[in-house]
């Protein structure tokens, strides 16, 4: 059973003469435990594809399946629940809540879920080398520390599918490769699946499969 399946996904923006096609007949199957890389020139539709897979927006046409359930026509409330329970996000800019300390970011998830996550925040933060920063606010962390906390936050609760949008863009090359290595290890160790958008070829080398987006099409 494929974890996620895309069938002829089309996404158009605007109307009439102003209409542009961001995604054109995308077919893609993602299996459990894969580390997928998405690359391509700016404006090719990588982030749009990521947001549709992550249920942040719906496609204009085509079908999207998650664990064989069609999710392309869900209501915003259902999509919210799906994102909260099954997906994780690592964004280019930090996806941390600025008024919560590092450990409170995880406490928030516990409170909203009403149950303890299978993997402890301490374990995740220790693995990513930011446990000592647990009582600090995101603004007092370095860019690298912030991104590693964001990764831990995305992994917390062991979501099946993690979407990463340029997660290493704000990091120096040494730290970027460390983060890519950590993401690759996670897929191997926990069986979680990661779809990562990146321009950095050295980072993409850590992925299992690479797809190139060009003019809204996957090659």
């Amino acid at each position: 059973m494929a974890l996620m399946r895309l069938e002829k996904i089309v996404k158009k923006f605007g109307t009439g003469d102003q209409q542009t096609t961001a995604l054109n007949q995308i077919d893609l199957t993602i299996e459990k435990g894969q580390f997928i890389g998405l690359t391509g020139p700016s404006g090719s539709g990588k982030t749009t594809l990521l947001t549709i897979m992550g249920s942040l927006q719906g496609p204009t046409s085509g079908k999207l399946f998650f664990k064989d359930q069609e999710i392309s026509q869900l209501s915003e409330k259902q999509r919210s629940a799906l994102r909260f329970n099954d997906f994780g996000f690592i964004l280019q800019s930090s996806n941390l809540v600025p008024f919560l300390t590092v450990e409170e970011q995880f406490e928030l998830v516990d409170r909203l879920r009403d149950k303890q996550a299978p993997q402890s925040a301490e374990q995740l933060l220790t693995n990513l080398g930011v446990w000592d920063q647990r009582r600090q606010y995101p603004t007092s962390l370095s860019g690298g520390q912030r991104q590693r906390v964001a990764i831990a936050r995305a992994l917390y609760g062991q979501p099946d599918l993690i979407f990463a949008d340029e997660p290493t863009a704000s990091l120096d090359s040494k730290r970027a490769l460390q983060v890519a290595d950590q993401l690759a290890k996670i897929t191997k160790e926990t069986g979680q699946t990661i779809v990562m958008v990146s321009h950095d070829e050295r980072v993409l080398e850590y992925t299992d499969h690479q797809y190139v987006m060009r003019d809204g099409q996957l090659t």
């Binding site: 947001t51 994102r83 949008d165």
Partner: protein, 352 residues
């Protein structure tokens, strides 16, 4: 609630400013309420203690007790128990006497065997001619002191003292009806009074010369009372609306500033309802703290205000205004709900 508390604790200065604003408005409302109630009380406290239902006055008096004059012999008979109706004579006067400065007073002529008799703080009720009961709102009065009324040569002995018995803002001086008639009309026979006060089952059939007023109507027609109560009411009402706008504007600006954060949270699957809940809890916390500080400051004000200031706290009014203030604070925060619900999780990813 968790998000609401954490954010308030993190951005202490920002939220302290909102609390400070709510506190200032709450305190102003309580202060105005204390003054309004104190002034209103000064107009009506002597009437309130009758616990009566209505008064009969002359038709031509334009519902003004002071302008009414009833000829006792021409009054229709009253149905009901004797104890439930009483004659009242009233006039404005000036008290003077040895060691007393001239002070305005409202003079009530009553039968001390009826329900119009005031509750005494000390002393006794008049038993013989030229004995009076005065309110301690008259500065310097003491038991057994001799006073004069309206510059007459007659001296009156103070035998009883009341507290908080005022009419039309003036402390009341109570005389026996016979003494009142002697002072005003030069005869001890009670031929004219201002009103007949009814309570319980007492009923009277009015003629075209008489009109019946309920006690609230009578109070509302005390000169200056209605406009004063309405003015204070309008000011307090306006402040309650202003607080909703102030909180609304503050919360809306904060919400706009947090659009990106909300976008991230929406992207992570935190629902709009949970974010709205957080905003509502925030407004409740801010409101409760601001109102609490206002109540505390109001209590301190009561301790330091001079007795001459007509300031009275009514727990029921303060409780009601506190509840309305809290509701208005929450209503203010409602302005931001549509903004939160409109936030697109795509904002977190740069609007792909």
């Amino acid at each position: 609630m968790y998000l609401a508390i954490k954010e308030i604790k993190h951005a202490k200065l920002r939220y302290s400013l909102i609390i400070f604003t709510i506190f200032l408005i709450a305190y102003l409302i309580y202060f105005l309420t204390g003054l309004a109630y104190g002034l209103a009380n000064n107009n009506r406290s002597a009437i309130d203690q009758w616990h009566a239902k209505e008064v009969v006055i002359s038709q031509y008096a334009n519902k003004n007790l002071a302008a009414s004059e009833l000829v006792v012999d021409q009054l229709p008979s009253v149905k009901g128990a004797q104890k439930n109706h009483a004659q009242l004579a009233q006039m404005m006067g000036v008290v003077s006497g040895s060691g007393l400065s001239k002070q305005n007073t409202s003079v009530f002529g009553i039968d001390f065997n009826t329900f119009l008799k005031p509750k005494l703080q000390k002393g006794r009720y008049p038993k013989k001619a030229n004995e009076v009961v005065v309110d301690d709102g008259l500065q310097g009065v003491t038991l057994n002191q001799q006073i004069k009324l309206n510059g007459r040569q007659q001296h009156y002995k103070i035998v009883g003292i009341t507290t908080n018995h005022r009419y039309n803002t003036q402390p009341v001086t109570y005389l026996r009806l016979t003494d009142f008639s002697q002072m005003r009309y030069g005869t001890a026979k009670t031929t004219r009074i201002n009103a007949l006060v009814l309570k319980g089952n007492a009923q009277i059939k009015t003629t075209d010369q008489l009109t019946k007023l309920t006690i609230p109507e009578l109070i509302d027609k005390i000169p200056g009372y209605g406009p004063q109560v309405k003015t204070f009411g309008l000011m307090i009402g306006a402040l309650l609306i202003i607080v909703a706008f102030i909180v609304g504007i503050f919360m809306y600006i904060i919400t706009i500033e947090k659009t990106a954060v909300y976008g991230v949270m929406r992207a992570q699957g935190i629902s709009g309802g949970q974010l709205v809940g957080s905003l509502m809890w925030q407004s409740v916390f801010l409101g409760v703290i601001g109102i609490g500080l206002g109540l505390l400051c109001n209590a301190l004000t009561t301790l330091v205000l001079p007795a001459a200031v007509p300031y009275t706290n009514n727990p029921l009014l303060i409780g009601a205004f506190s509840a309305v203030l809290l509701v208005m604070t929450v209503i203010g925060a409602l302005f931001s709900i549509w903004r939160i619900l409109k936030i697109d999780p795509l904002d977190a990813i740069g609007g792909a």
